[in-house]
Symmetry: C2
Subunit: 250 residues, 2 copies
Amino acid sequence: MPQHPDAHTLLIRQIESVSRLDEEDRRILRTMPARIRLIRENRDIFHEGQPSSACCVILSGVACRYKIVGGGRRQIVSFHFAGDMPDFHSLLLERCDHGLSVLTQAEVAFIPHEAIRAILARRPSLGAAFHRQALVEGSIFREWIANIGRRIAPERVAHLICECFERMQAMGLVDQSTFALPVTQGELGDAMGLSNVHVNRTMQVLRKAELVRSKGKIHSIPDWPKLRELADFDAAYLHLLPRPTAQFVQ
Amino acid sequence: MPQHPDAHTLLIRQIESVSRLDEEDRRILRTMPARIRLIRENRDIFHEGQPSSACCVILSGVACRYKIVGGGRRQIVSFHFAGDMPDFHSLLLERCDHGLSVLTQAEVAFIPHEAIRAILARRPSLGAAFHRQALVEGSIFREWIANIGRRIAPERVAHLICECFERMQAMGLVDQSTFALPVTQGELGDAMGLSNVHVNRTMQVLRKAELVRSKGKIHSIPDWPKLRELADFDAAYLHLLPRPTAQFVQ
DNA sequence: CGACAATTTGATCTGTCTCAACTATGGTGG
DNA sequence: CCACCATAGTTGAGACAGATCAAATTGTCG
């Protein structure tokens, strides 16, 4: 299964989708030790309240952060793909206010806090890069708030699809207009504040309008401008850097 | 009107509600130049897309960040009170993806980016404090996502009230169980993804249940445990430090 | 006192949820 | 290779939370 670049390459690629690094930054990032673990579908990487002594990097598969609100309802607050470090915050915040779990089988690398602290102390430019990551993450959260608060279901689902597409594209996880989003409709619903049933009906609408074509969990977007328009999607909030020299050939 | 501590004191108080600073940190923060402006009700401090060369600190009044989604619907993504610096991100992110406006007349201090960059370069501990701020902000955003996505109106409104209460209390803006939230019901609705009408009806429910008592925009909470329970509110996500030695006497 | 904004009330409409059944689909063991 | 099972997707019917529209009432402030 490990048919993908190593942990450091993925992490660096992800950071560089948003921040500029120089050769020395990359070199130092590569000095961090990483322990790899394979995690089975639907397992938690950590759960709410749990302290931790390492940050993780998703190498393959999809993870999500979620909160459980009164009555056991679940809200997914973010999705994470290869290269993402969903729990940098554990380095600076003691109590974790949410869970992190894996929606598909996934490989995950763990980097000890001390290793990260060490490189941050040594290289302020990396501190700034991680700080920028946190700010971009905040920006994405704001967009989700607007999406859930003020958009009706079709726009909302379309918007999420656009976001996943753009983020995965930045990581080289998209082939043409086709990408894998191995997430059930129920999970999509938990992310968008909708029921699984309504996500299903909404997806049908999008498919009938030829805005999305799906077989199983592989989706393709035949008409990006039209989807984008329906979704009211503007990628600016992702703060992606213009693609470097454009070769993500692994 | 300026019946409040100065910009630096407020900013320091706010940072210290979440991060530990030492004497030297505080001293250095006080060296930053701040230009004060009085901003009239409902004016923008900046709007989406606008670049900026200073960060602002709210000294009095209430500000909010908002996004406009297709069709002109507005979503407020955060409220800001005295001491808050709602646009630290402008230091590290070029394009701003949202607007910042003032809901009441407000005094706002502007601190030039260079001044902030200078102190961050000089004092890594302050960099970490601002980084922590960003992470806490992210945590609050996540809670808003869960609140809007998965809670029904009464819980949702109650939760927002709890959050404002706690945050304002941490800044010494609460008297007993009474605090001023000078925000219209329409604005509350824009923050919670509800209509003004429905906020109105929901507030009536809360009042009838004796969970909130309001005269105008002054609210008090007669039974905190009960409100907290209805709201499913757990302040952990605010990551507030245990109140220092407890004297916020200005 | 007048004017304007905010709150409140009523009536109606609609998006989305819930519940429940049914149908694909993919993985597993015989 | 197929039968079986569990999981996810799909469909239908009914209920309800919350939106919308419009009017009336209550501040609030010059």
